[in-house]
Symmetry: C2
Subunit: 499 residues, 2 copies
């Protein structure tokens, strides 16, 4: 196939041969798409970017004509809406990802946004570096989760761009593609080209390599693009997954300095009823004031994560928090088995889905940490997958912090005896017995495995930016007060440091 | 149970009996919730509304304490975001609905919004009437699809409200619940009470009856509320579904005046290549201008529906439309089998999910009309269900029109011979053969059944407000030009009439 395509590109083929080759290419592409769709394992992410007049649009149109549209969607994004501005920049791209078996074509996508934001001066070098870093991590996670990522940059020359804009303007069907903005971009050609080059270099990776093609020649570049897509789809169909493996390899795990551990926790800490009532009231009052602060409502959000041993009292603590909140301002997400829409996406996708806008709090009753706890201990996730999860989690949390989402992570710790006592109490309390399942007893048998997983979790995710609040929870009153106190401290701290 | 609760309400029970009764009520409620969750057939929608100080919050808190939180979510809505303002008012409520087996508790919800909008003068009597109508239809569809709907209005007196606000202000844990707005609402008491009463009366229905309780007495009203919820959950568990049946009964179907039919269509209409090229270019150019009109971008959206016989050329027509559009401004939704998140919702939910914001176009390749076509003919939907779908569809389309979503419905009609010819062509064209399935041949055998279903569809949904564009499609060129021409006319028409 490649040989015959080269003959076309070199103009060695006559009309008849050309037609024959194109039909064969189209057919092979379609069959590859259908085979990948059939297998329903691989989402395909195709990024096409390039300056005005580079021929992106024509390439996308041909792909839409050749491929089965029922299995694909083309995404182009305008300026972010206010819902989008109130979330991390990658949020809208995460939510638009194609599920396994489908193709998502992105016109400019996260690349176009970063480059133009920088050229327009909406972001500085520092933020651009952050966007590049986030893009690398984003694509790495997608690839590690099995996505086939194809990125095309159609690089055009300043002169060719001018020619193309004039050509388009004189074509009644395409003249709308050219407007004042196109000519403004033409004036900005050098800045855009230079910035795009840097972004492309910095985001070229084994798992999401760039294909840089000469732009401004729609027919030619489309043919080259189609040939590359076919080639990489066929590799995947042949079971070649080097990119996936390169992305799946866990980065070297660096323990955080002085992580907390469960050893040496003083679980005897307790609080008497009178003090509890007074303290709880005080801190609930404080919390209700904090989340009503106009600055909080405008610029901040809270993500509170509740993890802990079974029966450690997560639900009870959450109730004491929400009692101080207006129902309009929070959501409690109880993490259960993923839905099929969620299973068809990267593992962390279902948490991206739930991020709060500014002024709101989302409380997770269990969270993304299940990946390195139950999924590790029960063997639901392969070793390389839960091992790379620490880095993915740290990166995810960094991303939240960067867009003023205040993170409060709580580990509610009880000891084995206390758990046994609570299991027994549950089994004897009619409206609690349903909470006690065989699974709880199974988990309990693996107590030591869980302790190891928990200590690893603390070792690798108890970061300075997103520290764990380990809460001694043998005494419910003490635990509930500490939780709400620490939550207030987290909000105050973030708002004072203004970050 | 009810007897013992009455003893409590009448103050005949001592402390011990009181405790025993409450525990039993709590346990029965929980078990009913778990049983409904187990069956995973019934979403439960609980609406609690009432004026400031009526005790809504306390009631919701107790339900959250008594019920299993993993199976429920509480929803309270603030002012709409811009994404929400760019959609019909009920959009955000549709998207928040609990899936089958779960409970959604709404604080004020669509009722509070309508009442306050009216009292604040943001909407007039006419719009209020529309909101009421939409609420009735919304609840009717939910009920018909199996939802258990419980609506509680805690009606409080002006004096009791004042007392309650003072009580709350002097309670450190609850004082945040009272602010300037609360006292403003207190001043507006009469207007709110009068408007709420009218809305409640107008939205009381067999499938979603109101329970009006004396508000301002949290303990008492919560107990009454819990007893009613238990009662109606138990009825449902006993298989009593009167409400569902009352909502499922199809309304009398009124044919629209002079609906179009497939009889007497002149399918010989055609267009030669030269004229086609010229016309297509002309109308694509026109379309590209229309969707760029600042007024369109700010105030309008388009929903284009493509239906037709198998192989009638829907995909080809859609391509000719999208060729004139910027990828940022449209989405093509190919309607396939629903996902499990969609199957757990009312049948029309998955279309609500896809509505475009202003300035955008969403193109449906097959649509909600599948309900009265394939689902009817293949028997996927029960007769009463597809029969009531005509009214549900007309109502849905009315709702879109009311929020400036321009509707363009296309039926691409070919005759049986043309279809056979195209099936044969597909089977002989390598990159089209995958489009030809056994299902196509099966459908073809039921040609007459489909003709009957199509003519009924036209008879009941070819409304003046949302007319069908029946397109003679034996000749692809003629069909494509007619489609894009009619699409332009629909947009121009709507923008000229300013509605």
């Amino acid at each position: 196939m490649q040989k015959r395509i080269n003959r076309l590109l070199e103009g060695q083929a006559d009309k008849k041969e050309r037609k024959k080759t194109l039909q064969e290419l189209r057919l092979k592409l379609l069959r590859s798409q259908l085979a990948l769709s059939e297998a329903a394992e691989t989402p395909v992410v195709i990024m096409v970017t390039g300056q005005v007049g580079s021929g992106r649009g024509e390439t996308v149109n041909l792909l839409n004509k050749w491929l089965e549209n029922r299995g694909m969607e083309t995404h182009a994004f305008g300026p972010p809406s206010d819902e989008e501005r109130a979330r991390p920049p990658m949020w809208r791209y995460w939510l638009s990802l194609p599920p396994a078996g489908r193709i998502g074509i992105y016109v400019n996508g996260w690349y176009g946004e970063a480059v133009i934001d920088r050229v327009q001066g909406r972001i500085g070098e520092h933020v651009l570096a952050t966007r590049i870093e986030e893009t690398r991590e984003f694509e790495k996670t997608l690839a590690a989760e099995g996505a086939l990522i194809l990125k095309f940059w159609y690089r055009i020359s300043h002169d060719r761009q001018a020619e193309r804009l004039h050509e388009l303007e004189s074509d009644p069907v395409n003249r709308w593609r050219v407007n004042e903005l196109s000519w403004l971009r033409h004036e900005q050609f050098d800045a855009i080209d230079e910035t795009a080059r840097r972004v492309v270099e910095a985001t070229d990776s084994a798992w999401a390599p760039w294909h840089v093609l000469e732009g401004g020649h729609p027919e030619r570049q489309t043919l080259q693009t189609a040939a590359i897509i076919l080639d990489r789809m066929q590799d995947r169909l042949k079971g070649r997954r080097e990119e996936v493996e390169s992305a799946r390899t866990p980065p070297k795990r660096r323990p955080v300095p002085q992580p907390q551990t469960l050893q040496g926790l003083d679980l005897t800490r307790s609080m008497d009823k009178a003090e509890y009532k007074e303290e709880l009231t005080h801190w609930q009052d404080r919390l209700s004031q904090l989340v009503r602060d106009p600055v909080f409502r405008r610029d901040y959000a809270v993500v509170a994560v509740f993890e802990g041993h079974d029966a450690a009292g997560k639900g009870g603590s959450i109730h004491r928090v929400t009692a101080a909140l207006d129902a309009r301002h929070y959501r409690v997400i109880s993490v259960a088995a993923p839905t099929d829409e969620e299973r068809a996406q990267p593992w962390i996708w279902r948490f991206w889905r739930q991020l709060p806008p500014h002024g709101r709090m989302t409380i997770f009753d269990r969270s993304w940490y299940g990946r390195v706890l139950v999924e590790r201990v029960e063997g639901f996730a392969e070793k390389t997958d839960w091992q790379r999860a620490y880095a993915e989690i740290n990166h995810f949390e960094q991303t939240l912090l960067k867009s003023n989402i205040i993170l409060a992570k709580f580990w509610l710790a009880i000891d084995a005896d206390e758990q046994l006592a609570r299991f027994q109490a549950r089994s004897e309390t009619p409206w609690k017995e349903h909470k006690l399942t065989d699974e709880d007893w199974r988990n309990r048998e693996r107590w030591d495995d869980y302790q190891a997983a928990i200590n690893d979790m603390l070792r690798y995710t108890d970061t300075t930016a997103a520290p764990w609040n380990v809460v001694e929870a043998n005494d419910k009153r003490y635990a509930r007060v500490k939780v709400i106190k620490r939550l207030c401290a987290a909000i105050e701290g973030a708002m004072e440091s203004g970050g």
